[in-house]
C-alpha cells in the first residue's frame, strides 16, 4: 500500500487533472448519445493514447469508461433514449419523473447514485480485489445459467402492471436471441444468408431502434409529443433530491452497489443484468412497489448505482487475472498491453504505481462527473422544453449516425429503423419494450451456458442443484418469484380477517 502515496501524487498533477477532466467530459457525451457505447468510447480513445505516458493514457481510458456509464442516464431520464443497455432500467422511472416536471430531481438522484455506486466499487477494487477475483473463477456454466434465469425473472418486475404483454415481449426477444451462428455446431440459424446476422441480431441497433428511434417518431406525432411538452415546462423544480428521499434510498443504494460490483466481477455477465436485478430487488423490498415504473426515485437510484458499481467490479478480474469482465474492459486490456502492461498479478507488483494511479484516478473521475453532472443538470433539463418536432429529427439523426458507427454497416441502420417502427407500435399497444431487450441480452448467455453445463455434466440436469453456489442462486430465483405471490396472499388474507 506504500505505492498509494506516489500514485496520489501522479493523479494530482495539473496534466493529470486536465486529462481526467477531458476524459470525463468526453465520456459523459459519448454515454449520452444513442449508439456510442462505453466500449466504443474507450476504443476510440486508444489511438489517442499512443503517444501519451502510460499513467495519463490509462487515466483517460478509465475516466471515459466510468463517466460514459453515467452519461447514459441523462438522456434515459430526459428523453427516454438510453444511450446504452446499462441505462434502460433508469428510463423506466426516470422518464415518468421528467414528464412530471421532476427531471432535475431524477438527474440529481441518478448522479448521486452513480457516484455512490462508482465510489463503492473503486473502494472494493482497492481493498479486496485479489481475494474477490476468485469469485470470477468460482462461477461455472451452471451458475451463469441460473444467473441468466434470475435476470429473466426481473421481467416480472419491469412489466408488473401488464404481465402477459411483458412475457410476450420477452418471448419475442428470446426468439430473436436464437438468430446467428451456433458456435457449438457451426450451424447458421435464421440468418437467411445475411452475414451481418452471423453473430446474432446485434443488440445496440435493436436497443436504439426500440428506444431512441421510436421515441423520435413519438415526438414527431402531434399527440405523441405531448408526453413531454407542457408538463416539462415547470423546470424550476429541484435539482437535488430531498434528503428524505436520499435517506429512504440508502439501503437500495448499498444493495445495488453490492449487486453491481459482484455482477461486474463475472466475465460476460454484463452491466444490464446488474441494473435490472438491482431494480427488481429494490422494487421487491419497497413498501410501495406499485409506484415503480411510474416515477419512483428509488428505481433510478437502484439502476444507476448498480451500473456504475459494475465499472469497478469489471476491473477486478481484468487487473488481477488478466480476464476482462466485459467488452469495455477487453478493449481496456488492449490499451494496457499497448503501454507494455500485461494484465495479471504483475500489475500489482511490477507496475504497482501505475496501477494504483489508475485506480485512484477512477476515484477522482467519479467525483468529477458527479460535480459536472450536478452543475449541468440545470441546463440539461432545458432539453425537455425543446419542441418535439425539433427534438425528434435530432434524435433520429444521432441514432442513425450512432448505429452506423457501431461497425460501419448500413444493415444495422435499417435494423434500427425497423425496430423503431416496432417500438412505436409496441408503445401504442402498451407492450413494454424492456423485456424484449432483456431477453435478447440474456438469451445467448442462458443458451450457451445451459449447453456448456450439459456438455460438462454429460446431460445431467441435477447439476444445477448439486453445486452449492448454483443451488443458492436457484433458491434466490425461487424467492424472487414467490415473494410477490406470498405478499399478495398475505394481504388478501389479512383483509379477509378484518
Amino acid at each position: 500500500m506504500d505505492v498509494l502515496l506516489p500514485a496520489l501524487g501522479n493523479v494530482l498533477t495539473p496534466m493529470a487533472l486536465l486529462t481526467l477532466f477531458l476524459g470525463t467530459l468526453a465520456g459523459m457525451t459519448i454515454g449520452s448519445l444513442p449508439g456510442l457505447s462505453s466500449t466504443m468510447g474507450v476504443a476510440l480513445c486508444i489511438p489517442i493514447t499512443f503517444n501519451m505516458p502510460p499513467d495519463l493514457a490509462l487515466m483517460l481510458l478509465g475516466a471515459v469508461y466510468v463517466s460514459s456509464v453515467y452519461g447514459g442516464s441523462v438522456t434515459a431520464i430526459l428523453l427516454r433514449t438510453p444511450g446504452t443497455d446499462a441505462s434502460i432500467a433508469t428510463a423506466l422511472d426516470g422518464y415518468p419523473l421528467a414528464a412530471a416536471g421532476r427531471g432535475g430531481e431524477a438527474l440529481g438522484m441518478a448522479t448521486l447514485a452513480s457516484l455512490f455506486g462508482g465510489l463503492f466499487s473503486v473502494v472494493v477494487l482497492i481493498a479486496i480485489a485479489p481475494p474477490l477475483s476468485t469469485v470470477a473463477l468460482a462461477f461455472g456454466p451452471q451458475e451463469y445459467t441460473v444467473l441468466a434465469i434470475f435476470g429473466l425473472v426481473t421481467i416480472v418486475g419491469v412489466a408488473s402492471d401488464r404481465p402477459l404483454k411483458g412475457v410476450l415481449s420477452a418471448a419475442v426477444g428470446l426468439v430473436l436471441a436464437c438468430v446467428g451462428l451456433d458456435t457449438f455446431t457451426g450451424m447458421q440459424r435464421f440468418t437467411f444468408g445475411h452475414s451481418e446476422l452471423f453473430e446474432g441480431v446485434p443488440l445496440l441497433p435493436v436497443l436504439i431502434g426500440l428506444f431512441s428511434v421510436s421515441q423520435a417518431f413519438n415526438l414527431c406525432v402531434p399527440e405523441g409529443g405531448g408526453v413531454l411538452a407542457g408538463k416539462g415546462q415547470q423546470l424550476k423544480g429541484r435539482r437535488l433530491p430531498l434528503w428524505h428521499d436520499i435517506r429512504r434510498s440508502l439501503r437500495t443504494l448499498l444493495r445495488s452497489s453490492v449487486i453491481g460490483s459482484v455482477v461486474g466481477i463475472l466475465p460476460g455477465a454484463g452491466t444490464s443484468i446488474a441494473s435490472f436485478i438491482s431494480y427488481s430487488e429494490a422494487r421487491r423490498h419497497s413498501p410501495t412497489p406499485e409506484r415503480f415504473g411510474k416515477g419512483e426515485l428509488e428505481g433510478v437510484a437502484a439502476s444507476e448505482s448498480a451500473n456504475n458499481a459494475v465499472t469497478g467490479g469489471t476491473l477486478i478480474p481484468t487487473l488481477t487475472l488478466g480476464i476482462p469482465g466485459n467488452a469495455v474492459t477487453a478493449v481496456f486490456v488492449g490499451g494496457l498491453t499497448i503501454h507494455g502492461m500485461i494484465p495479471g498479478p504483475s500489475l500489482f507488483t511490477q507496475h504497482a504505481e501505475t496501477t494504483y494511479t489508475l485506480i485512484l484516478s477512477l476515484f477522482l473521475a467519479n467525483i468529477l462527473f458527479a460535480v459536472l453532472g450536478l452543475w449541468l443538470c440545470r441546463y440539461l433539463v432545458v432539453v425537455t422544453k425543446v419542441p418535439g418536432a425539433v427534438l425528434g429529427p435530432m434524435i433520429l439523426v444521432f441514432s442513425v449516425i450512432g448505429t452506423y458507427a457501431l461497425r460501419n454497416e448500413v444493415f444495422d441502420v435499417w435494423l434500427a429503423v425497423a425496430f423503431g417502427v416496432v417500438g412505436f407500435f409496441m408503445e401504442r399497444w402498451r407492450y413494454p419494450a424492456a423485456p424484449l431487450v432483456i431477453a435478447l441480452i440474456l438469451g445467448p448467455i442462458l443458451e450457451v451456458n445451459f449447453r456448456r453445463s450439459m456438455q460438462i455434466s454429460h446431460w445431467d440436469l441435477t447439476t444445477f442443484f448439486t453445486r452449492p453456489l448454483s443451488l443458492t442462486l436457484c433458491l434466490l430465483v425461487v424467492l424472487a418469484l414467490a415473494y410477490p405471490l406470498w405478499n399478495q396472499w398475505r394481504r388478501r388474507h389479512s383483509s379477509v380477517q378484518h
Partner: protein, 329 residues
C-alpha cells in the same frame, strides 16, 4: 446565363481532366504512391489481439510511408464482413487489410452458400505473426503430458472436457487433429473468446484449454496453468518449457496466422511498395520488441510465398473438410 456557361465549361474541363488523369492513373498512381492516408481494415473489434497488432504495425508503417495509416474496424461473422469489404475495396492501394489464417481460406468452402468473397478477390501480401496452438491444463491438474491425457480419455471418455473458441476455428481443428493422431474421441465445449475460456480453465470447470500461445502464455509464465503441448515444429521461446506435440509423438501442427492482404487488382508497383514497407517494419527491432512483449511470435512470409501458403492451406483443409465436414450442413 454567363455564369451558367462558365459553370458548364468548368464541368467539361473537370470531366476532361478526370479522363486524362484516369488514363494516366496506373503510371502516376504508382509513382507518387501514397499521396493520401491509407485505410487498414481490421476484421475484428478494437482492443482484440488482431487489432492491437494492426495498430502497432500502423504506427511504424506511417513512418515508412509518410502517410497516415487509419485502422478501420469492420468486425462481424468471425472476420468475414471485414474481408468482404477488403475484397470489394478499390484496388488503388489505399485500402489494405489484415487476414487471419486459417479462417480466411476456410470460409469459402465451409460457408459456401453464403460467403461474400472468394480467395481470388484477395491478394495476400505478407504474413507477420504466427501464433501456434497450445493445449494447457490448470496448474494443479493431475495431467503432466499428452500421454496422461490420452490415457485418461481411454480410461473414461467423459472425464476430459476441452474448450475451444468456436467450431471450425483453428483451436477446434487443432484439437480434432490431436484426437485423430491419438485415436481418441474428445468432448468439447465452446467458449466465446479467450477471456471466458481462461476463467473456466482456472476455475476448474474444464479439463483443458485449447487456444493460442499469445493467449495462454501469461497464465503459463505465472504458473497458473501448465502447457501440455505447443502445436509447432519446435518449441517457442516465450514458453520454452512446454514441449511440442511432435516431441511427444503426436504430430499436430496448428497456428493462427495474421498477415496483410490487398484487393486482387492492385497495380504491381503499389504491391511492391507495400511489400517493401512491410519488410522494413518487420525488420525494425522496436516493432519486434513490441511484438515480443505481447507474446506474438513474428514469422515473416513475403509475397508469392505467402500467396502459396494461403492457397496450400486452403487445399489441405478443403480436402479434410470434404472427407469429414466439421460443421453440420
Amino acid at each position: 446565363m454567363k455564369t451558367q456557361s462558365r459553370l458548364a465549361r468548368k464541368v467539361v474541363l473537370g470531366a476532361m481532366a478526370t479522363i486524362l488523369t484516369g488514363g494516366l492513373s496506373t503510371a502516376t498512381l504508382a509513382a507518387d504512391y501514397p499521396n493520401k492516408p491509407i485505410q487498414m481494415i481490421v476484421a475484428f473489434g478494437a482492443g482484440g489481439s488482431t487489432d492491437t497488432m494492426a495498430r502497432i504495425f500502423a504506427k511504424y508503417a506511417e513512418e515508412e510511408l509518410g502517410q497516415r495509416v487509419v485502422v478501420v474496424n469492420r468486425p462481424g461473422a468471425g472476420g468475414e464482413l471485414g474481408w468482404v469489404h477488403l475484397a470489394n475495396a478499390d484496388p488503388d492501394g489505399y485500402t489494405i487489410g489484415l487476414i487471419n489464417s486459417p479462417a480466411v481460406e476456410v470460409y469459402p468452402f465451409t460457408r459456401e452458400d453464403t460467403v461474400g468473397y472468394s480467395l481470388d478477390e484477395i491478394r495476400p501480401l505478407a504474413n507477420v505473426i504466427t501464433d501456434p496452438g497450445v493445449l494447457a491444463v490448470v496448474a494443479d491438474s493431475p495431467y503432466q503430458s499428452l500421454d496422461d491425457l490420452v490415457a485418461a480419455v481411454k480410461d473414461d471418455p467423459e472425464s476430459v472436457i476441452i474448450s475451444h473458441e468456436g467450431v471450425g476455428g483453428d483451436d477446434h481443428l487443432a484439437a480434432l487433429n490431436f484426437a485423430e493422431e491419438a485415436d481418441i474421441g474428445l468432448s468439447f465445449v465452446s467458449y466465446n473468446g479467450n477471456a471466458e475460456a481462461t476463467a473456466a480453465l482456472l476455475g476448474g470447470h474444464i479439463t483443458a484449454f485449447e487456444g493460442n500461445m499469445s493467449e495462454a502464455a501469461a497464465q503459463i509464465q505465472e504458473g497458473k496453468a501448465r502447457g501440455l503441448a505447443v502445436w509447432a515444429d519446435e518449441r517457442v521461446e516465450a514458453i520454452a518449457d512446454v514441449p511440442t506435440g511432435k516431441e511427444q509423438g503426436y504430430d499436430v501442427q496448428s497456428a493462427a496466422s495474421r498477415g496483410f492482404a490487398v484487393p486482387a487488382d492492385v497495380p504491381q508497383e503499389v504491391y511492391d511498395t507495400l511489400l517493401a514497407v512491410t519488410r522494413d517494419v518487420v525488420d525494425n527491432p522496436e516493432f519486434r520488441a513490441e511484438m515480443e512483449q505481447l507474446n506474438m511470435p513474428v514469422n515473416p512470409i513475403y509475397g508469392e510465398e505467402y500467396v502459396e501458403f494461403i492457397h496450400d492451406s486452403h487445399d489441405r483443409l478443403k480436402a479434410l473438410w470434404e472427407k469429414d465436414p466439421w460443421v453440420e450442413q
